[in-house]
Assembly symmetry: C2
């Protein structure tokens, strides 16, 4: 059984978080999902609806998978040293570290992506890039894997990335089964990214 | 400004709910999103993670859009007469009634889909069908529109359906803009449904 610690903060993006949580949740008893925040309790998303953090970063930092969503709240959290320190500690314990959208800005500011290949969403690319000048940012990618760090492009890309991570951990058939249950047309190609062109990145 | 009342209940499916809420949330100040449940407070999803209901069905039933997700909790809620009565009342006030996945079983048991065309997810089709013998169930469809009732197929189909509803309400360009922000490859064809064949429905 693997544990997932999914970080949430005020202004997180709903689909960044819950798309991937749906995919991992469908693996059933093989996974235990947790939402973790600075304080336990309700945390308001960027679209106002709130999720419940059952754990606090001041008490827990050991998960098999560390998951970091994006959202407009990342603009504030990149200055939150306690949170960045926690990301460093939690990354050391994790078998995999996954981020969606501007979640990679948090990993970058924590120094975790230095010298690594990574991506982020294409609408906020230049801001995220500026948070990690030593990161090898990929301008066109649905998601990027660099050892145990897997970063994805914007919002919906987190679902494709998560299925890719599931395929890597549990085999292609398991990932396809999850996608089929969701009636989801999984984009399996991590290099597929028409949005890079739309935003003038290529 | 339009209000959305999204019903949640123990065992709701995460992506059924939060995929569509992401899409409507991206319409910005034009929409006010609410999660509503039998009681205010935390409601546990089928994958254990909890969302916060800020309203109770005993106090509110007037929303411009009534939204009903699916999930394994629907198997219990189809027997919940107070909730079915609330769906009837809330539907009368709503400009649109949207459901995802087995959420249509709740609408069907409330009698709201009698004589209407509707769909549901394909893995649980026969059970949902049995909840509404007078519903004109469509065995192959991504989503189905019958006047102001719009029902979608399983889990991820809710995102395509929501974008379709946004296109109907606000024009195609607005829907495309939302999809692009999410870096989402919107399936715009409501008749697209390879899952019907996989589950032997056609």
């Amino acid at each position: 059984m693997r544990t997932i610690g999914a970080l949430i903060f005020p202004g997180f993006e709903l689909l960044d978080l819950f798309g991937p949580m749906e995919m991992f949740g469908l693996l059933g008893d093989d996974y235990e999902l947790h939402l973790i925040a600075e304080r336990e309790g309700a945390v308001e998303s960027g679209h106002k609806l709130s999720a419940m953090a059952s754990l606090s970063i001041h008490e827990h930092c050991a998960f098999d998978i560390l998951f970091v969503p994006g959202g407009k709240g990342t603009r504030r959290e990149v200055e939150n040293q306690a949170l960045l320190d926690w990301l460093v500690a939690a990354s050391k314990n994790a078998e995999f570290v996954l981020s969606v959208c501007t979640g990679s800005a948090l990993l970058a500011r924590a120094g975790l992506l230095d010298g690594r290949h990574a991506t982020t969403n294409k609408a906020a690319f230049s801001w995220v890039e500026s948070q990690g000048p030593r990161v090898l940012w990929e301008r066109q990618a649905r998601w990027v894997e660099d050892e145990h760090f897997i970063t994805s492009s914007g919002v919906s890309a987190g679902m494709d990335m998560s299925l890719g991570a599931i395929a890597r951990m549990h085999g292609m058939q398991r990932a396809k089964d999850v996608a089929q249950f969701c009636e989801y047309e999984w984009q399996q190609d991590p290099s597929w990214d028409p949005f890079a062109k739309i935003h003038g990145l290529v």
